[in-house]
């Protein structure tokens, strides 16, 4: 990765491209833009970016397909930026390999935060994985299987730890219910959101300062959960 991270923006709305180019360039990113799906795929292949910001409603092919075709050969982070606000659209994009989803209209701070998370995962994927993830008072040691809150160890069951570890290794990312269920419980548990509710509730009780206003494991209603770690 060069000093300036490279972002490819695929969106058919000229004003959005204009605004994003201005903002991202101002934030010291190198920006390439495409207004059609095929064009975006070609650009990504010719000059692989560090992050892709992708609109779904493209004139030639649907953004979800762009997602799937990118995933055939690369793991570069994809952040979907779309006016489609229905949960099934979000889940479909995430299932096809998108890393995050932001609906238009969006706040720039939010977009920048998601881009930073994406870049961080990229460096981690290239370098050594993080051993200890911290989120406020909570520290999770992924190799030694120890979780501490305010430096006091918290006893977790194996399932609770597996769940927490999966969330923490994907800190900042939006994880769908399905992906969590299949990773932690196995493919046969797909669709059993009720397990997830129970275990997330237990984790929050053990780890959050106020389980009713979680700061570490956040709900994304109808989609999944997002783990918020310290930077």
């Amino acid at each position: 990765m060069s000093a300036q991270p490279h972002i490819l923006v695929i969106d058919d709305e000229p004003q959005i491209l204009r605004a994003l180019r201005t903002i991202l360039t101002e934030k010291q990113f190198r920006v390439t833009t495409a207004s059609r799906g095929e064009e975006g795929l070609a650009l990504a292949a010719a000059n692989p970016p560090d992050v892709v910001i992708l609109d779904l409603g493209l004139p030639d092919i649907d953004g979800i397909e762009v997602c799937a075709r990118l995933r055939e050969w690369t793991q570069i982070p994809i952040i979907v930026l779309s006016v489609r606000d229905r949960e099934q659209d979000k889940v479909a994009a995430l299932d096809k390999g998108a890393d995050d989803y932001l609906t238009k209209p969006f706040a720039v701070q939010e977009l920048l935060a998601r881009v930073r998370v994406a870049l961080r995962h990229l460096t981690q994927a290239k370098g050594s994985p993080k051993i200890v993830v911290t989120a406020g008072p909570v520290a999770i040691d992924l190799t030694r299987h120890i979780v501490a809150r305010e430096r006091v160890e918290v006893k977790l069951t194996a399932t609770e730890f597996n769940l927490l570890a999966y969330l923490a290794t994907n800190a900042g990312r939006l994880l769908t219910h399905e992906s969590i269920l299949t990773h932690v419980w196995g493919p046969e548990a797909a669709g059993r959101t009720e397990y997830l509710r129970v275990f997330i509730g237990q984790l929050r009780k053990k780890l959050e300062a106020n389980p009713r206003r979680p700061r570490m494991i956040l709900n994304e209603p109808g989609i999944g959960y997002r783990f918020v770690a310290d930077d």
């Binding site: 606000d85 229905r86 949960e87 099934q88 209209p105 190799t143 299987h145 069951t157 194996a158 399932t159 597996n162 219910h177 419980w185 196995g186 046969e188 548990a189 059993r192 959101t193 009720e194 397990y195 509710r197 509730g201 009713r212 206003r213 979680p214 709900n219 209603p221 109808g222 989609i223």
Partner: protein, 494 residues
């Protein structure tokens, strides 16, 4: 109608007439010593009158003839022969026969006309009952059912079928009484078309086991068919009128929508435009307190505009039936918390009280849609209840199937007659310019809750207003699964 006067068979009636005559003959033979021939003739009129009035003209005449023969045989000398010697006796016999036949005829006719009058009266009663039953009916199916039931009873039919056909000959409605009767392969005894000004509407078919319809019954059944056709025509006209009214109403709503939408959308746009132009023209400097204030106005108005567009979109999804809840098992309080999280700033001036037990069962709902219900209900409360007041949420299971959820505020009460209508589109209780953006919010709640199979309503409370709604606790009749099938709760290898 004859069968109402037993005995029913004609042969039996004739036999009875004979019997009556024989009986009187026997009596007369016993007491004949005290009687003169004219008295006997007079007494012989008794069975004739009796037979005619009880069993009709035929048996009456028969009785008269038999009486004539018996009279001749037993009482006119020479006895026990049918010969007559004296002219006087011939005269008595002939006069007797004439009088007897004459009386039978008169009586018979009177009886027949009485029977006809009764039949007509019954016919009129049937028609009256039918038209009373049909009065005020506007539903095709009800009308056909009424006609079929009345016809079944009036004609002692075994089965009546009534089918209505639409413009393209498709079957609109079909009624069979009694409902248990199987569609018979036998062809119906009678069938009549239901003819209206718009052409053939259908057909009435009637089966019965006894004799075919008499001309009077046939006439009555035709009248039934005509009455039915008239009632159907009337129902059609009423429906057409209702449709026209609905169209008119929807036109009115549409223009209300357009003017309301353009007003609601333009107001935030005006604020945004004013803010941005004053900043870009350096009327106000970006980094001055006024500039910061303007920027936050712009941001708030953009969010407001976004919510309005979202509401319009949701409303159109609800109306087109595209709003299908994607159910999952959810924790109710999580949904409420995330709704509150998003309105955190707006709700700061209020006290939010959450009265939800920890052991509340999971609910099979679309979390995003339910979050919107909470957002809309709370934001409605924020708009109408005074700052500093309490907004609270509570929930308790009504039974195994249903959860009752309440969002209460301390806002002003709503007049009873408006309580239903607050969930209507574009309905606003207070003056339009006082509070913005309320339209659609509550009707979207209604759409979402109803799509979940629940019900939503508003109630006045002593200290404010409560929105109440119900949610299912079962999903396809099932409760949530409790534990993973293969509990992998064992230390896993690193």
């Amino acid at each position: 109608m004859r069968r109402r006067y037993p005995p029913s068979s004609a042969l039996a009636q004739y036999l009875l007439a004979l019997l009556a005559t024989a009986l009187i003959t026997a009596l007369l033979i016993i007491v004949q010593d005290n009687l003169s021939t004219p008295i006997i003739a007079l007494l012989y009129l008794l069975p004739v009158v009796l037979s005619t009035s009880l069993w009709g003209l035929g048996p009456g005449i028969a009785s008269a003839l038999i009486a004539f023969l018996f009279f001749n045989f037993f009482f006119i000398p020479p006895l026990y022969t049918f010969t007559v010697h004296q002219t006087r006796d011939v005269l008595v016999l002939v006069v007797f026969l004439l009088v007897a036949v004459f009386i039978s005829q008169i009586l018979g006719r009177a009886r027949a006309s009485a029977a006809a009058a009764t039949a007509r009266e019954r016919e009129v009663t049937r028609l009256y009952e039918l038209s009373t039953a049909l009065a005020g009916q506007h539903d095709q199916h009800t009308i056909t059912r009424i006609i079929a039931e009345h016809a079944l009873e009036a004609f002692q039919a075994t089965r009546v079928e009534l089918t209505l056909e639409g413009q393209e000959g498709e079957r609109v409605s079909s009624v069979r009484t009694p409902e248990s009767a199987l569609p018979s392969s036998a062809s119906p005894l009678h069938q009549f078309p239901l003819q209206t000004a718009r052409g053939l509407q259908g057909e009435l078919r009637l089966w019965r086991e006894q004799a075919p319809l008499t001309p009077a019954e046939d006439r009555l059944l035709r009248t039934f068919a005509t009455q039915g056709a008239l009632a159907l025509e009337r129902a059609h006209l009423v429906q057409a009128e209702t449709r026209a009214k609905i169209l008119e109403e929807s036109d009115r709503l549409k223009s209300a929508l357009l003017s309301s939408v353009s007003h609601e959308l333009r107001s935030p746009l005006a604020a945004i435009k004013a803010g941005i132009t004053s900043l870009s023209d350096r009327e106000v400097y970006w980094d001055s307190p006024a500039g910061t204030d303007l920027l936050s106005v712009v941001e708030e108005e953009v969010d407001h505009l976004n919510r309005l567009v979202g509401n319009l979109l949701d409303m159109s999804r609800i109306e087109s039936g595209a709003l299908k809840p994607k159910r999952q098992w959810n924790v109710l309080v999580d949904i409420f918390d995330s709704a509150l999280e998003r309105m955190y700033r707006a709700a700061e001036a209020y006290r939010i009280e959450i009265d939800l037990r920890d052991d509340l069962p999971l609910v099979p709902v679309d979390a995003a849609q339910l979050e919107q219900v909470f957002t809309n209900l709370v934001s409605n409360s924020l708009k109408y209840a005074p700052p500093g007041s309490v907004i609270s949420i509570g929930a308790c299971p009504q039974d195994d199937q249903t959860l009752l959820v309440e969002v209460r505020n301390q806002g002003p009460p709503i007049a009873e007659e408006h309580l239903e209508r607050v969930f209507d589109k574009f309905y606003r209780v207070t003056a339009a310019d006082r509070v913005t953006g309320t339209w659609l919010g509550l009707s979207i709640c209604k759409g979402i809750i109803e799509a979940h199979g629940g019900r939503i309503w508003a109630e006045n409370r002593p200290d404010g207003l409560a929105f109440k709604f119900t949610l299912p606790l079962t999903w396809d009749g099932a409760q949530p699964a409790t534990l993973p099938p293969t509990a992998p709760d064992q230390p896993e290898s690193p």
